[in-house]
Amino acid sequence: MNEENINNELFNKNNPFKIPEGYFDDFNSRLFLKIENECENKTRITFWHSWKYKLSVAASIAILALLSYNVYYFMNENKIVKKSNVSITESIDDSELSFVNENHIIDVITSDEKEQSFEGDDIINFLVNDNIDENAIAEAY
């Protein structure tokens, strides 16, 4: 069917519009090319919007949340242990101090024993007697 005939048949009026020459000849090939491109884009878009993608994002968030919780729990657990240690130490100190008499402390301070000092020979004798390696002490300090 001729294009011009169709125009006249459709319009039944004078058609003032023209079409570029050969426009309809390659229309189908251009259209199918565009459809192919659309399908390719759709495949790409489909992946990003697919349930697999959503599931992987949800799983990542869940793993991240779980890791964060574990790290938080671990850090708090250490704090709890430290706190309990402190409280035990504090309670021991309190109990020890409760048995210390104030006058006894004054006596100890004012007595001659407070001036007790260690001579160099005493230290050497102590190290020899207790078999302590002086190199080990040097390395440690």
Partner: protein, 182 residues
């Protein structure tokens, strides 16, 4: 080569090995008719080409869900019409200009358009049509140029026949007013 019946072509489309050739047949059968339906609304050839391609792409995607009870031609016409409306609305949003500016610009553009071969009267008529709201423009074109019956227009546009008659009446009045003042 004689054109096959739409039902036969659609039956072939359901077969994966024949779907491409069946769709090609549909495109061959309706591309010219749809082109002119779109062209009369959009006037510009390049815009028409874009919208016609989009129409067939939508048809390709939706043909599996097409209700066999309705006519394929009516369905394609409806897609093309909706695509035109969307295109015009987007254009209106993109180039936010008032109606008078659009009309004066349109006349100049149409005169210099290499694919417009009309005389002075046709240029004025096309300019007058451009002043109509989209729905009235559609109804006017389908009735005046295509001489489409109101019942068929009703199926395509999803509007009652009485409403379409009223739209056409208003469109004609507006065009007459435009021609008087020009």
């Amino acid at each position: 080569m004689t054109e096959r019946d739409d039902k036969e072509i659609l039956k072939d489309f359901e077969n994966p090995s024949l779907s491409n050739s069946a769709f090609n047949e549909i495109v061959n059968k309706y591309k010219v008719k749809l082109y002119w339906h779109i062209r009369k609304l959009l006037v510009n050839h390049d815009d028409t080409d874009d919208v016609l391609q989009n129409t067939f792409i939508k048809a390709w995607k939706g043909l599996n869900t097409f209700q066999k009870e309705s006519k394929l031609y009516t369905w394609l016409y409806r897609i093309a019409t909706n695509e035109c409306i969307t295109f015009l609305q987007n254009k209106k949003k993109k180039y936010f200009v008032n109606v008078d500016e659009v009309n004066s610009e349109f006349s100049v553009q149409l005169e210099s358009d290499t694919y417009f071969d009309g005389d002075k009267a046709q240029l004025i008529l096309q300019s007058a049509i451009q002043t109509l709201p989209v729905k009235q423009k559609l109804v006017f074109n389908m009735r005046y140029f295509d001489e489409m019956p109101y019942d068929e227009m009703s199926k395509i546009l999803g509007t009652s026949e009485s409403a379409l008659k009223a739209s056409y009446h208003f469109a004609v009045k507006k065009i007459e007013e435009y021609l008087k003042h020009d």
